[in-house]
Symmetry: C2
């Protein structure tokens, strides 16, 4: 990673990066399904079989791009939350949510790659988990801060869900009340729903002023996890 020993090792790093760059460009333009190894090779002036020296298969290339996309999305949320560090938790929640939406709209194909239909027969390997978690950790941290500082409103959970709520809290955030963790998980899924609906065209001819609509919906989600607006 630090000092590439020889010219060959250096070249390998550069070529690998060039392949990923070209692939990312194709992904952004045409979408994952039309990402073709041969086209990538063509763009780089190589022959397609040469790519297999760097990536064992098309799926492995996709996995790399998936991790990059998760990281980019996570970073967008992180910086948004950081820039809103002085605001009330509820406002930071909305800021982070809006960052997710903006990133998705700016990189629709990359968002679709990570949150759209999984490629058939392809299941994301374990290595993606840390990067995939980053967005949700941002939201979790906002709730955690709110809980530490001024407390969060709790919406009780029905009895039948209590064991599961306790289990989730123990797994994800033992320092938070189970009801809050439950609401947080649901809110993450719902946030994904709001973004996906807009991105995949389900709001066509329904919602026009989507930014305002989203801001309101995100604020409602914040309220749902117990964050209060000052």
């Amino acid at each position: 990673m630090s000092t590439p020993q020889g010219a060959r090792a250096r070249a390998r790093i550069e070529v690998t990066a060039a392949i990923k760059d070209a692939a990312r460009r194709q992904l952004a333009e045409e979408g994952a399904a039309k990402l073709s190894l041969r086209a990538v090779a063509r763009e780089l002036g190589m022959v397609s079989s040469a790519l297999y020296r760097y990536f064992p298969s098309r799926d492995d290339l996709l996995t790399e791009l998936i991790i990059d996309a998760y990281d980019a999305l996570g970073e967008a949320a992180e910086t948004a939350a950081a820039r809103a560090g002085d605001l009330a938790p509820a406002r930071r929640w909305v800021a982070a949510s809006e960052a997710v939406r903006r990133w998705a709209l700016a990189h629709p194909h990359e968002y679709a790659l990570i949150y759209g239909t999984p490629v058939p027969g392809y299941s994301a390997p374990e290595t993606t988990v840390p990067s995939a978690s980053r967005v949700w950790v941002v939201l979790l941290d906002i709730v955690r801060d709110a809980h530490r500082e001024r407390g969060v409103a709790r919406t009780p959970v029905p009895a039948e869900l209590e064991p599961e709520a306790r289990r989730m809290a123990a797994d994800l955030a033992p320092d938070l009340p189970p009801e809050v963790v439950t609401a947080l998980v649901a809110s993450c899924a719902q946030l994904y729903g709001l973004v996906g609906f807009e991105l995949f065209g389900q709001f066509n001819r329904v919602v026009e002023d989507r930014e305002t609509f989203f801001r309101h919906a995100a604020a409602q989600l914040a309220h749902g996890v117990g964050l209060v607006f000052p």
Copy 2:
């Protein structure tokens, strides 16, 4: 449509149906991306080019399957809502939501076809709109009934969203208060998010008792649109 005139017209209908059946089977097994015209033709003992007498392209076949999937999902929601016709609106909402989830889990690839990543370069034609609306009309009707019978709780909408809320209400349900229509649209997106998160594996290693979790989340959504549990 009623009486196919000659043997030829009858045959055409049968062959068309057989093609769609075989395609649906392949779709259910392998997913949309691996649905291959040639494989369908092979299964039917035809040569691939013969299929083009019935469907101008692979995308047109997919469109038919998409409409069928929308209709099947809509019907599932409709019957669930009808069977819960005696219950309070909030419970009917949950029943319809659970029907959507169940249908999605039972037909993951078909659900992915309609609500997952749109096929690149493919945009659903107008003909899909009526079928696509059916699910949401079910939820809308539940809210409408509740509004007529005992009224719904209204969560005020921020000033900046008021014009858009009024516009949406005028377009979708002029008989309902704008705040309620706004909440309904958001809830639909959020319902889609809950189902999608579970279906596409984002709940892996997070939520275990997903049915109970979903029921609670759907009830929260019902509460969000102003339905009250008795």
